[in-house]
């Protein structure tokens, strides 16, 4: 089936540094999402993105977070600067907008902030 790829699978950085998480969505999809999962807790919505704009974001999407998809390349989540509480697995998802906005998920990027 359709696959969403995420690069890297793991990232370890020092607090205060910048990090960019990359997502390669399903090729014909137009809607993109990021979710955050802290260890032992449920996945929580961060943001969704369509036509170059943030459509909706949660309170977890802090000012230090930003998303973009320049020229149809990777859909990225940038955190600058990072904080200890940003340590989590970040899941990217994409949707064509059809089928009830069925979302296809990537395998996640495990971010550890030291």
């Amino acid at each position: 089936g359709p696959k969403v790829l995420q690069i890297p699978s793991h990232q370890i950085i020092d607090m205060g540094q910048m990090v960019t998480l990359n997502c390669d969505p399903v090729s014909n999809h137009l809607y993109f999402y990021w979710y955050k999962q802290i260890l032992g807790q449920q996945m929580e919505f961060l943001v969704n993105f369509y036509n170059g704009k943030v459509m909706e974001k949660s309170k977890l999407f802090k000012d230090q977070f930003s998303v973009e998809r320049p020229d149809g390349s990777y859909f990225t989540l940038k955190i600058q600067p990072t904080a200890l509480e940003d340590s989590a697995v970040y899941f990217c998802a994409s949707s064509s907008g059809l089928g009830g906005f069925e979302q296809y998920f990537g395998p996640g990027t495990r971010l550890t902030v030291l």
């Binding site: 089936g1 696959k3 969403v4 809607y31 999402y33 979710y35 807790q41 449920q42 996945m43 929580e44 919505f45 969704n48 459509m55 909706e56 949660s58 899941f91 949707s95 089928g99 009830g100 906005f101 069925e102 979302q103 296809y104 998920f105 990537g106 395998p107 996640g108």
Partner: protein, 113 residues
Amino acid sequence: GDSVTQTEGLVTLTEGLPVMLNCTYQTIYSNPFLFWYVQHLNESPRLLLKSFTDNKRTEHQGFHATLHKSSSSFHLQKSSAQLSDSALYYCALRESSGQKLVFGQGTILKVYL
């Protein structure tokens, strides 16, 4: 806000026995979409079932679920568990007007011989 509750963190059972994973939800919206996602070890969460129709059974890959708006439930069932069903199962809700998914905490299903 919206919420999804999965009461079991871990369900263990012997192959061949029936499976039932509980999911209840809270939302102010009258037409929510409900989903079950399955995540096998080291893989992406994958959509298993979805529904937005009240009291209509939906089936896929041997699993089934029925959305009951009267009880705000969308329990996942299978008549006979297989070893390969061992995975993490998430119930999720999407309000009809938005796109974000609200997830439950997930239930780990472990099936033994």
